[in-house]
């Protein structure tokens, strides 16, 4: 379960980094915002399915606005972009704090069934989460490899100027990628609300774990991101059983810092900066 949701979040970050060459520090807040929007929608309308549809779209809208009014105007300059996304992080997080409040609130899981294996039981919703996440990953994958927009994204990723010379609307591709990246994180956030709870500080952990995945998988390599998400998602669970979760996080962050320090491109990917 954790692995697929993590993969979804990390894929968004990886897509944005790969195509736009920017580090989006506010990515975790898009995840958080997805969870919060899902809580609001499902509490107001009583339909979790609607929440699952609304959350990614609404958050993608926020991301597109941020792209239009901030990132585009600073020309996606790497360090200014990082500063701007840190600013975005605090604006989103603190807006949620003042409106939604400092509470951790869950949503009722939409399905109730348990799958019982002889040796352990499994809550049905977790399987649903895994299924939906897997479908979303597959859809993203197909969109990237089979559609014109996906082709344009990959062209922009490989060579921005050459893509522009071949009439790829690079500006629009950037906006779409930023929106889709945020939407993927928001979908992951919405999916996880019934299992965890919606809280305004849940973004930082999501961001750090996504960084861990994206860096281990290789910056800009989508396939690497997926593989790393499974390795990290499964091993994080296993390590957390044996040791304390804090210790597991310390080990993971240190490991990633060292990987990036020794090999600037992560394990399989391209050079950062």
């Amino acid at each position: 379960m954790g692995a697929l949701v993590l993969a979804l979040t990390a894929l968004g970050l990886s897509l944005v980094f790969g195509v736009m060459r920017i580090v989006n520090v506010a990515h975790g807040e898009f995840f958080m915002l997805g969870a919060i929007v899902a809580w609001y929608v499902s509490t107001l309308t009583g339909s979790f399915l609607l929440a699952l549809l609304v959350a990614p779209v609404a958050v993608a809208g926020v991301a597109v606005l941020a792209d239009r009014f901030v990132l585009r105007r600073i020309g996606y300059e790497p360090e200014s972009t990082i500063v701007a996304t840190i600013g975005l992080l605090y604006i989103l997080q603190q807006t949620v704090l003042t409106t939604y409040g400092p509470y951790a609130r869950p949503v009722e899981a939409p399905v109730y069934f348990r799958v019982d294996f002889p040796w352990f039981g499994y809550s049905g919703y977790k399987l649903v989460v895994a299924g939906v996440a897997a479908v979303l990953l597959l859809v993203t994958w197909m969109a990237l490899s089979r559609t014109t927009l996906g082709l344009q994204m990959r062209a922009t990723q490989q060579d921005r100027e050459m893509a522009q010379a071949f009439a790829v609307p690079v500006g629009r591709v950037y906006t779409v990628v930023f929106g889709v990246g945020a939407g993927l994180a928001a979908a992951a956030g919405a999916l996880i609300v019934p299992v965890q709870q919606a809280h305004y500080l849940m973004g930082l952990d999501a961001l750090l774990m996504s960084f861990v995945v994206v860096i281990l998988g290789g910056l800009g390599s989508l396939r690497g991101t997926l593989v790393a998400a499974f390795v990290v998602g499964l091993s994080d669970g296993a390590i957390s059983v044996l040791f304390s979760p804090t210790l597991a996080k310390i080990v993971a962050t240190l490991l990633v810092a060292l990987v990036l320090a020794v090999r600037g491109r992560g394990l399989f990917g391209e050079e950062l900066a």
Binding site: I74, I86, G87, L88, F211, T246, L260, A261, L272
Partner: protein, 318 residues
Amino acid sequence: MTDDRRGLALGLHLGVLALLGALQLVLPPFHHGMVARVMVLAAYAVGYNVLLGYTGLMSLGHAMFFAAGMYGTGLTIQHWGFGAGAGFLAGIVAGLAVAAAVGLVTLRTAGPAFLIVTMMLAQAFNLATLYFNDVTGGDQGFILSGLGLDLFGVRLAFADPAVKYNAALVVFAACLLLSFWLTGSPAGRVLLALKENEERTRLLGYNTVRCRLFAVVVSGLLSAVAGSTYTLLFSYVGSTFGGILYSIYPLLWTLLGGAGTTLGPLVGTLVMTYFVDVASAITTGYLIVVGAALIVMVLWAPAGIVGGIRVRWAPWLP
């Protein structure tokens, strides 16, 4: 820069320090304490500026150096019964050790990679202080009491506002003058060259690796000095000061005041601390001013306050 311009700049710096010294006579108690705090935090920002403004490396992990100074001082006083002076030295040693280690690990990274590596290392450091909470007190932290310094037979208690203010002033003055001296020194010039064009600096025969290490260590050292001073003057140690917010603060203060200007960190810290103070009286989400300030600066004022003044009116400002 010609020598008389340099003299003018030195005069300005001494004038600012004298002004800060004179302020304590007129400030009402609340602002008296506030400015003392600002001076300690500004020393932290001065340390950050050595790396961002004069070497061109943007770090998101400086809280680790601040916290190293803080824990180095706080833990030795709390657990080993060190005095204030020995605790201060322990904080500096801890800061130097952490800075040297981080400098060595990050040698090969630049730009966004440097930023993420420092952020990850700081996060691991902060989680470690939470993990060993039976020693560090975790996010509750611990309070020290009765801190003071015996100077020529006179007991200077840090709880006394006047002592607090002047101790903060002395530490800030030392950090400011060190950074002023650095901008005029050959070593500082090489750092600037590194910021402008690392490749060319290396071709000119400078050992850029050693220069970078030097910059990280100096920057980390000043940050640790600030952290240690904060512990001594405000008698508190806690993991909040090692969190990501305290890595973002010096970035914000430095950018707001003007990265690459010696007085920028002070101006930025002063303005932002008061902004945050006013905002926190209005709303629980007061950190929104931090976010808004970052975006406003990136969009409309990338040079910061002092940087803007330098561009328009005073090109001689260091």
